[in-house]
């Protein structure tokens, strides 16, 4: 089933958006108990050439040293921290600098070659937090309620096609265009038809998850000059299956819904906030819901700041 949510503060100022999104996702917990995740934009405070890496490392002697060595070989680690997690692994978070964004994916690929290590995320303008378990547990685990930002997207996952682990939790991101991420409720049934031409163009897929395919598709469109709204509109034409999904970019968020309207989506807006979610029960955590708009089959909505 899955639950999706997105929120934008129109004043472009930093707000307690980690707290807002936690409350929104908690209300969508019934739609997906397996894992949950966030992309929180606008509050990282990084310099233009700085990036944050989040890396899942198995509890094993000297494995972290190996990870650090691999990163330091390419660029010095400027700052780091260990985030305890569940299971037999932890999250290693570090800050690095790169001359070009195009250097990020090769670095991640390099680190990913180390056994028992998975790079969960590499980003500049957003903080990605995702893990298995309930929304409230994850929020406590990573102090999400303290994360500030201008806008955010989030997800509660009811897994269907692929495994339940931290990597397969949403959001998914791509390294084709900087800081694009997606949360998705549904299935893309013409997955291979979408994936094949993207792979021929050089996109590297890490999973067989249809959500990964979505974010590559949108990034490809954005990289070739489409606006977010145009990319979403084209996706409604090109994708088959039941879906509603939200894209996050440094400029805002956008939602697209399949032409048969088989997955839900509602929107409410005030002078201060634009919010979208699978259900009204989530919207009412952050916005006045006296007037809720149903997102129609095949409809696309974008709010950029």
């Amino acid at each position: 089933m899955c639950g999706i949510a997105g929120i934008v503060y129109k004043d472009k100022e930093l707000h307690n958006i980690g707290n807002d999104m936690t409350n929104m996702l908690h209300q969508l917990q019934h739609r997906g108990p397996d894992s949950a995740g966030y992309s929180i934009y606008g509050g990282t405070g990084l310099e233009e050439n700085e990036y944050i890496l989040k890396i899942q490392v198995k509890e094993s002697e000297k494995l972290l040293d190996k990870v650090k060595h691999a990163i330091n070989f390419i660029t010095p680690i400027k700052q780091d921290a260990i985030l305890p997690s569940v299971g037999d692994s932890f999250i290693y978070k570090c800050k690095i600098s790169l001359d070009e964004f195009s250097q990020l994916k090769p670095l991640i690929t390099k680190v990913d070659t180390i056994d028992d290590v998975i790079v969960i995320n590499g980003s500049h303008d957003f903080e990605m937090i995702k893990d298995v378990g309930s929304v409230l547990d994850i929020a406590d685990r990573y102090d999400v309620r303290d994360v500030k930002g201008t806008h955010a997207i989030g997800h509660t996952r009811f897994s269907t096609e692929s495994g339940v682990d931290r990597y397969h939790a949403h959001p998914f991101q791509t390294y084709i265009v900087r800081d694009i991420s997606v949360v998705h409720n549904g299935q893309i049934t013409n997955y291979w038809k979408i994936r094949d031409p993207l792979e021929r163009k050089g996109h590297v897929f890490e999973t067989f998850n249809d959500t990964e395919c979505l974010v590559h598709y949108i990034a490809d469109k954005l990289a070739t000059g489409y606006s977010l709204e145009e990319a979403l509109e084209q996706s409604v034409e090109d994708m088959d299956g039941p879906f509603s999904y939200i894209i996050g970019t440094p400029q805002g968020i956008g939602i697209a819904k399949d032409k048969l309207g088989l997955r839900p989506g509602v929107m409410a807006e005030t002078d201060d906030v634009f919010a979208i979610a699978s259900e009204e029960v989530s919207l009412r955590e952050v916005v006045d819901t006296r007037h809720v708009e149903q997102i129609s089959p095949g409809e696309v909505m974008v709010y950029e700041i």
Partner: protein
């Protein structure tokens, strides 16, 4: 009138419904505070009682009921009034997809706009939408009537077998086996009577278009 109030703020839908059913025998009216857009509220009530929600409900609000008059002073999620066999469900705001899905009788009223597939597989009864209704309104309809005061989306009355859809606004496109028929004088009286009962003000009933099945046996021939 004996009124019973339930504060749903800290209750599960099951607990709210249990309290509604306990109170329905003894009281004339039940008011539910803080429904908080939760799902399945007032499901399966069969008593002749007034139920008022002071806020929005989630999916399947007032589903499978037979008898109560339910008023929702807010919005409703998907499938409001699903499988109603008698009574009324009135939504003062908007509703999601499948409003009045599969109803056998009774009336579902949404004062503002709704999502897609309004009244799908309905067998009888009445659905009134004060605003617009989306894609495939009246799909697989097998009886009853839908009245839309606003516009209606693509493929209205898709694969309709029996029943009628009245639309005051624009019709984007008709579904398979649907056709537009001339409104009769009797039709206009019927529509006027139903709308006035629910306090909809319509100046000119002749604006309505009437959509009916082209054939009652579209799949197997005559």
């Amino acid at each position: 009138m004996e009124v019973f109030e339930i504060d749903a703020e800290k209750l599960t839908p099951r607990e709210v419904n249990s309290q509604i059913k306990s109170a329905a025998d003894e009281y004339d009216k039940i008011i539910i505070r803080n429904p908080n857009a939760n799902h399945y509220l007032a499901a399966g009530v069969t008593e002749d009682v007034e139920i008022e929600f002071d806020g929005s409900v989630g999916y399947f609000g007032g589903c499978m009921c037979d008898g109560p008059k339910i008023t929702i002073n807010g919005n409703a999620g998907w499938f409001v009034g699903d499988n109603l066999t008698g009574g009324e469900v009135i939504v003062e705001g908007t509703a999601g997809d499948g409003a009045g899905q599969g109803i056998y009788d009774g009336t579902v009223v949404v004062k503002e706009s709704v999502g897609s597939r309004t009244g799908e597989i309905m067998k009888n009864g009445t659905i009134i939408i004060g605003g617009n209704s989306g894609f495939m309104t009246g799909i697989f309809m097998m009886g009853g009537r839908i009245i839309i005061l606003g516009d209606v989306g693509d493929d209205v009355a898709e694969s309709i077998i029996r029943g009628v859809v009245y639309v005051r606004g624009k019709i984007k496109s008709l579904g398979n086996n649907a056709k537009i028929e001339e409104m009769t004088f009797e039709d206009s009286l019927e529509v006027e009577e139903i709308l006035s009962k629910y306090e909809f003000e319509v100046d000119d009933i002749s604006q309505f278009k009437k959509i009916v099945p082209e054939s009652t046996r579209p799949f197997y021939g005559h």
